[in-house]
């Protein structure tokens, strides 16, 4: 193991697959409205951690914190090999400079762009990667359609494909299977089930079966804190 301090320079992709260093290291506090989120968490490459807990516990806020949409008050957040938030203005790396794939709860597709343009929106995406994601998630026939012409399940698959097209260090899924048809759910689960191919993933879910199906670990978040690790 290297004894070097963590580099502050971006170093995306270097030994990402083989390294057993955590992709995500978080130990800090963030406040949003009345919620105080106080979390220590590490996630290894390829690991899928499910986050469960009651409404208002801070699950979505945790994902927004990792995405760079909420800041730490104090503490530290490392993504890949660099610190992206240390509670200071200087140490804060904004969302667009992190390597994140975020699938928000209400999908938030770009209505003015086609499905293919949505999936290929990220400057990190490549045409090959977009094509292969469209194929794997059975979206090729929808490529030229607008998101508002898609069913709920199709739109959810577009959102997942768009997030994965960024080739993210960390994938953030906010209840991706809520109200999905069985086929869409199966395709998304098949894609996420392969530990060797998926990025490190945080999955917020209300569905115990989904957590048991996919997750390496389950964390229970209550009132902004990790309350425990319920058995799978």
């Amino acid at each position: 193991m290297s004894t070097m301090p963590p580099s502050l320079e971006p170093d995306p992709g270097l030994d990402r697959e083989s390294s057993r260093e955590p992709v995500l290291k978080l130990d800090g506090t963030a406040t949003v409205g009345d919620l105080v989120l106080r979390v220590a968490l590490e996630v290894l490459p390829g690991e899928l951690v499910a986050v469960v807990g009651p409404n208002g516990a801070g699950k979505t806020t945790l994902l927004r914190l990792l995405a760079g949409l909420v800041r730490l008050n104090d503490g530290r957040l490392d993504l890949g090999r660099r610190t992206v938030d240390d509670g200071s203005d200087r140490g804060f790396v904004p969302a667009h400079s992190r390597r994140i794939g975020w699938v928000p709860q209400d999908r938030l597709l770009f209505d003015h762009l086609t499905v293919a343009a949505n999936v290929g929106f990220s400057p990190h995406s490549t045409p090959d990667r977009v094509d292969s994601l469209l194929t794997v998630l059975h979206l090729q026939d929808l490529a030229d359609r607008r998101p508002n012409e898609c069913s709920g399940g199709q739109a959810q698959r577009v959102a997942v494909a768009r997030a994965l097209a960024t080739d993210p260090d960390l994938l953030l899924l906010d209840e991706p299977s809520t109200a999905l048809d069985a086929g869409s759910r199966r395709r998304i689960h098949a894609l996420l089930g392969n530990r060797d191919q998926r990025p490190a993933t945080l999955l917020v879910t209300h569905d115990p079966a989904e957590a048991a199906d996919l997750a390496d670990r389950v964390l229970e978040l209550t009132a902004g804190q990790i309350a425990g690790t319920p058995p799978l």
Binding site: H96, R98, R99
Partner: protein, 262 residues
């Protein structure tokens, strides 16, 4: 349209009277129009001149509104400016301010002895009152709020969350603006611009107060209409018809935004 089962007859009668009150002046204008000699009237020198001044002034004002109003709307919608309510009140003030008062205020601000005007003249040799540029300033002053509140409203309701998603996908702020914010804002910008342009085209009070009524320079269609009413009512009707046609042309494409569909 079917009659709602619970609409009281008295309310329907009053509503019909109100509609008649709004429609009557337009009907009267159409009834008095000198249809047979209309083309000749519209070819007259003073009419063509006023139309030219009006187009120049209103289109220039619309361009300035676009350039100044878009960042202003964005700041009002998205930036935590101090005293935001006060700032917004100031921004919409020209909408409710009597235009003559606006013109007077412009005179004291940008007139030759005005707060800023005296320096404009001394340093840059720029004089605004009673010039075409002054008419543009007056039109911009009254038209700007119409654009700003339309675009600001659209920015408020249309997705900051979409911009956040775009940022997480690696788009820097300028790319987000170019590929998400602006394309989604174009319909509102078009509607706001049409309204602002129509307001600039119809501007009377601030223009006559600040820029005067000089043929070929500051006499716009509304001023020419007012002038003609005293000497040549038929020409006044013809000029009014031009303004009416323009107003309808602006309103009809934007009806979905400003008029309910049912």
């Amino acid at each position: 349209m079917t009659r709602p089962p619970n609409a009281p007859r008295s309310v329907l009668v009053v509503a019909a009277l109100a509609m008649a009150f709004l429609a009557l002046p337009v009907l009267a204008l159409l009834q008095r129009a000198p249809w047979s000699g209309l083309v000749d009237l519209l070819r007259r020198r003073e009419v063509v001149q006023a139309l030219g001044v009006s187009l120049l002034v209103s289109l220039t004002a619309a361009g300035i509104v676009l350039v100044l109003g878009t960042p202003m709307a964005w700041v009002l919608a998205r930036v935590a400016v101090p005293f935001r309510r006060l700032v917004r009140t100031l921004v919409v003030l020209p909408m409710v301010l009597p235009p003559v008062v606006g013109g007077t205020a412009l005179l004291f601000a940008l007139g030759r002895r005005g707060l800023v005007g005296q320096w404009l003249e001394r340093w840059f040799d720029v004089t605004l009152p009673f010039t075409t540029a002054g008419a543009v300033v007056a039109a911009t002053f009254v038209a700007l709020p119409f654009y700003v509140i339309t675009v600001e409203g659209a920015l408020r309701t249309s997705g900051e969350d979409l911009e956040q998603v775009a940022a997480t996908l690696g788009a820097d702020p300028l790319t987000v603006l170019r590929r998400i914010t602006v394309p989604r804002l174009i319909p509102a910008m078009g509607a706001g611009l049409a309204l602002a342009w129509a307001r600039a085209l119809g501007e009377f009070g601030a223009t006559i107060t600040f820029a005067g009524n000089l043929p070929g320079r500051t006499r716009t269609l509304p001023l020419a209409t007012f002038q003609a009413l005293e000497s040549d009512p038929e020409a006044a009707v013809a000029l009014s018809l031009v303004l009416l046609a323009v107003s309808l042309a602006v309103l009809l494409p934007t009806r979905h935004r400003w008029l309910p569909t049912r």
